[in-house]
Amino acid sequence: MRKEGLMAATVHGLPAAFRRALEAVALWSRVNSPWLVHFNSGSCNGCDIEILATLAPRWDLERFGAKLWGSPRHADVLVCTGPVTRLARERLVRVYEQMPAPKFVVAVGSCGITGGAFHGCYNIVGDIGDVVPVDVYVPGCPPRPEAIIDGVIQLLTRLRPPKARRHAAKAAAPGGAA
């Protein structure tokens, strides 16, 4: 995974302090407004409908600034479900490669971790981690919407600079300061 994105190329040649400030702004906007792209690489739809439920009013993932977007070219986070079938493998790689760096992958569901109920089937090449690098695994068959939210939030928390991360951890702890 490339560390430097388009932003780095654009600001190349600027004074270091200015560059740092720009990168801080980029990180801030990325963490507060991650765009998700969803790919089903062979799932039974169970996880996919729970991802949609996560975005629907009851759970409303959008309150964290997240947005489900159709094009991988505009997305920061690939939310992937299911074991990877032989036919879908090439597409999964292609969708991943179309995403601009830095990019992250959240694998939703047991099948994405081990192949789940389909482990060993003839048309399965493996789990998602075998095909693209995965940042967060969300287990469950299917995971509840709360678990999916938790997965995305864990990813975002990890992206934050250390100081903000401590603050977020404190806020998330039971009885922690808001």
Partner: protein
């Protein structure tokens, strides 16, 4: 629709048959040699009876397995007997299963394993194309005269002459082959523009790949490539015990998981000759209806989203949580409830749970009335649905559509009423039919079906029979075969189960409703606007979004020396600059 009908068929087809047998009042078993198949099917269609429900291929009728074939009606005891006495090692049996109401007429064709070849019946039965393609890809039965030679289910790099559903198939033999020709890409005439859509699309479920040939805004040709989520479940089921299979088939589809498990369980119970306690059947039926409510609300939201009506999407998904909560309360999981057992159900419904369900139904009833008003009166929404994607009744019957798609075309097909299974005999359902045939009708049918669901759920709660939930199931299931047909939220779901008396099934054949609906949709989009495609595709419920248009623009002729030319983004950009900047004038 009874034994009389079946004997009439038996008589009419007699010249082409080598054997036939009325297994029961609703089951007719006929045998014909491959060379007579087309004539027999044509004569069959001439009787205007029933529709082709599935084509099942069977391999591995070795001497150990025995040639006994017995038919079993769901819920009834299997009738022992044998119509096919000459089962030999090295033959493949192809079953053409025609249904009407509770009746099933099977045409059996036996072909040698090394020269497996049957004629295509798609001339007489247009809906057979996808079934035949499945048969030829999965079991290696060459179907002569089958239009279109492209793969539909297996990956492009799958080696030739390796067929996963043959009994001697080894996973190692399916290693990818190099330099395989991609099966996507259409054979359209030179000069047409192809818009590829899928398999990645943002909001939705099944990835499929579509290619639409367009002339401006109007679609002139459409092709489809399935198989992105092909996992090989039918093969996997042969490798698992009867009970494990229950949890595997539940994961064929996460949206209608309960109905898959129900169809499978009903089939196994029929094979094993089990009689399920009425309370178990009633609770099973109740869960089927709750699942239908969740599935229809899900569809309503997604289809509205495709039409650009996101408010309705959010409202219906908010209300859907009501029924998701009920399912979770009853079974402990929101999706994949694992409520079925072979022999009944796991979960009891007590008084507080029944009250919670009643409250949920009351709330949703009001909402469904509201939705019905919206989908029939909202002016801007109607412009996306009224008169769009019209599948006439004639076309619907020709292509064999099922479920709400067929009912919206005026075909009164609903297995819950026509061939009641589980507890639908005690809690009858009236099919909801609409004659308008367009996208609006599909909305109206599904929303009105919700009201029917609420009524049935209340009725089941009011008259829940007392007694046990389940009976113990045997580890081994008696030899024989069973067909189990149920009405899934999207239409008729067909299961064929075959046992050789062991702890594992010999064959599990699943024919899902969507497979029947594709043919009609691929034909109906021709002549429609490209922008209406998502709405039309969503209409049959394998919901679909147009947002992904990863434009690989193919153009034939002109510069590519007659070959296919794939334009890069740079080419497109240059072309655009030339087109808009003086190149045209």
């Amino acid at each position: 629709m009874s034994a009389a009908d079946l004997s009439r068929i038996q008589g009419a087809l007699a010249p082409w048959l080598t054997g036939s047998r009325l297994a029961s009042d609703t089951r007719l078993d006929m045998e014909t040699p491959a060379e007579n198949l087309l004539a027999a099917v044509t004569a069959f269609r001439g009787l205007a009876w029933g529709y082709l429900s599935a084509i099942t291929g069977l391999d591995g009728l070795g001497p150990a397995a025995g040639p006994s074939a017995s038919e079993a009606a769901p819920g009834g005891a299997p009738a022992q007997g044998s119509a096919s006495q000459h089962g030999t090692l090295g033959s493949i049996e192809v079953l053409y299963q025609f249904c009407q109401g509770p009746c099933l007429a099977t045409l059996r064709v036996r072909v040698p394993r090394d020269r497996a070849e049957v004629p295509s019946i798609s001339g007489a039965v247009p809906s057979a194309v996808l079934f035949e393609r499945e048969l030829s890809e999965m079991l290696g039965v060459h179907v002569t005269g089958l239009p279109g030679g492209k793969r539909q289910f297996l990956p492009d790099d799958w080696p030739p002459n390796v067929f996963p559903l043959r009994k001697d198939f080894l996973v190692e033999s399916a290693a990818p082959v190099a330099d395989s020709a991609p099966s996507v890409g259409s054979g359209e005439a030179p000069g047409t523009f192809i818009v590829p859509i899928g398999p990645q699309h943002p909001a939705l479920k099944e990835p499929g790949h579509f290619e639409f040939a367009v002339d401006g805004e109007i679609i002139t040709g459409a092709s489809i490539r399935l198989g992105y989520v092909h996992r090989g479940i039918e093969k996997a089921a042969e490798d698992r015990s009867w009970v494990q299979g229950l949890y595997l088939v539940e994961r064929i589809c996460g949206i209608c998981s309960h109905i898959h498990a129900t169809a499978y369980a009903l089939g196994v119970e029929a094979l094993a000759g089990m009689t399920i306690p009425p309370r178990g059947q009633a609770i099973r039926t109740l869960l089927c209806e709750l699942e239908r409510i969740h599935s229809h609300l899900l569809w309503l939201g997604v289809a509205a989203h495709e039409a650009g009506f996101d408010t309705l999407f959010m409202f219906s998904w908010r209300d859907r949580e009501t029924v998701m909560d009920l399912l979770e309360q009853l079974t402990g999981n929101r999706v994949n409830y694992a409520a079925n057992l072979i022999g009944g159900v796991k979960y009891e419904i007590d008084a507080p749970a029944a009250d919670a369900i009643r409250r949920g139904m009351d709330y949703l009833e009001g909402r469904a009335r509201h939705y019905l008003k919206i989908v029939t009166t909202d002016e801007s929404f109607l412009r996306r649905t009224r008169g769009v994607g019209t599948i006439s009744r004639e076309m619907s019957e020709r292509f064999g559509t099922v479920g709400p798609t067929a009912r919206a075309s005026g075909v009164p097909t609903d297995l819950r009423a026509a061939a009641p299974y589980a507890a639908y005999g005690q809690f009858p359902v009236t099919p909801v039919v609409d004659q308008r045939c367009d996208q609006e009708a599909r909305f109206v049918v599904r929303v009105r079906e919700l009201s029917e669901c609420f009524r049935v759920v209340r009725e089941i709660l009011d008259r829940l029979p007392p007694g046990d939930l389940s009976i113990p199931a045997p580890r081994k299931v008696a030899e024989g075969e069973a067909v189990s047909r149920v009405e899934a939220p999207r239409g008729e779901l067909f299961y064929y189960l075959r046992s050789t008396g062991g702890v594992k099934p010999d064959r599990v054949k699943v024919r899902t409703p969507s497979l029947c609906n594709w043919a009609a949709v691929v034909n109906v989009v021709i002549g429609q606007k490209l922008a209406d495609v998502p709405v039309i595709l969503a209409g049959i419920d394998p919901c679909f979004s147009c947002n992904d248009r990863s434009l690989t623009l193919r153009r034939r002729g002109k510069t590519g020396a007659g070959g296919v030319e794939t334009w890069s983004w740079e080419d497109l950009r240059t072309y655009g600059i030339r087109w808009y900047g003086g190149g045209r004038s």
